[in-house]
């Protein structure tokens, strides 16, 4: 079940730098921890996070096992045109989530 919280401004002035923040529910299991029966819990992390603005990639992040559960990502972008910001998370066990927000540039 994908559970995401996104904080992005709905409107921005042309040329303004806006901050986009995204929080996603994910265990980020490192693959190094023993479970209750002593065997290692298999790794289950998000590997990639990307953001695109009207199809053009504006941000990419490679995640590692050292990142805590429910990763929170904050990044900035220059608002040059109105459009759809698409956020994509992908990782182990076929994990793939996509969410989008619309930003109107005036």
């Amino acid at each position: 079940m994908a559970n995401v919280l996104i904080n992005a401004p709905k409107t921005a002035r042309r040329g303004e730098t806006i901050e986009l923040k995204a929080l996603i529910l994910h265990p980020m299991e490192t693959g190094f921890r023993p479970g209750a029966n002593g065997t290692i819990i298999p790794r289950n992390i998000i590997q990639d996070f990307t953001a695109s603005w009207n199809g053009v990639e504006i941000f990419r992040m490679r995640m590692s096992p050292a990142i805590a559960a429910n990763p929170y990502v904050s990044f900035c972008a220059v608002a040059s045109e109105s459009g759809v910001v698409r956020l994509r998370w992908s990782g182990d066990n076929g994990f793939a989530v996509e969410e989008s927000v619309t930003v109107t540039v005036t």
Partner: protein, 256 residues
């Protein structure tokens, strides 16, 4: 501004300063006040507070029909009717003879009204539902019920709170009454007011209940934690809520 509204404004200033003066006498501090500004900001921003992920899921569960009765929580309760509920429990529900906490109350509804299996203690579903219900009481003062039967429960809770136990021979009170505000390792010892449960603890990297927190403390002082369904937790929770009476609910909170 006419004379009447001026008088009202002055009155408001007077009562606000009176409240502030009383607040000065109240030495109680919530865990929120003991956190750094970064964590406070994380809790205050609903898109940065990871507990809100669980609230979102809880809202979906609230509307989901379950059990043999095929009823959702929302089929009987309005969202508005949940305001203040989390600030009241543990309590003895109508028709029951034992006190239950909020999680217990939700499970009681599940078994009697929805005719469904009770949710496992500390399971995601139960935490999510509890978080959603608790959110409706955000900003409300903690108000334990004036039920005379609760007095004995609170007294038992206070006894458990002050009784030394475990290999380290500690009691809850030894830290959270006698040494609150000082440091244990690098962390500030909070006064232990349950204003924000269920809460997102960074150490847990997930949402947890007050019960889980109490179990953590019991294990920390090397005492044997009570079973998850033990009445001891409800008694302790009832005492803690009475101890925090009037403090503001900030569930679902973030704590280190």
């Amino acid at each position: 501004m006419n004379k009447r509204s001026l008088a009202l404004a002055l009155g408001a200033v007077f009562f606000a300063s009176l409240a502030a003066a009383q607040g000065g006498a109240d030495r109680r501090r919530s865990g929120y006040q003991d956190m750094g500004p970064a964590l406070q900001k994380m809790q205050d921003d609903d898109t940065a507070n990871p507990a809100m992920l669980f609230v979102q899921a809880g809202e979906a569960l609230w509307k989901q029909k379950v059990g043999a009765a095929d009823k959702a929580c929302a089929d009987c309760h309005t969202t508005a009717s949940m305001k203040g509920v989390a600030a009241r429990y543990p309590a003895i529900p109508a028709g029951a003879d034992k006190p239950v906490d909020l999680e217990g109350r939700i499970n009681l509804c599940r078994t009697t009204q929805q005719k469904a299996e009770p949710l496992r203690p500390e399971s995601d579903d139960l935490l999510q539902l509890t978080a959603w219900v608790a959110l409706q009481s955000r900003g409300d003062p903690i108000a334990p019920p004036d039920d005379p039967r609760m007095a004995a429960v609170r007294a038992e809770g206070e006894r458990l709170f002050t009784e030394r136990q475990g290999q380290l021979n500690l009691s809850c009170a030894a830290c959270h009454d006698a040494n609150a505000g000082k440091k244990l390792g690098g962390a500030t010892i909070p006064q232990g007011h349950p204003t924000g449960y269920p809460l997102y603890r960074l150490e847990w990297q997930t949402l947890g209940s007050l019960k889980r927190r109490l179990r953590n403390c019991l294990i920390g002082m090397r005492a044997e934690p009570y079973d998850y369904n033990a009445p001891e937790y409800v008694a302790l929770e009832a005492y803690l809520m009475e101890r925090a009476r009037g403090m503001t609910m900030d569930a679902p909170a973030v704590r280190p």
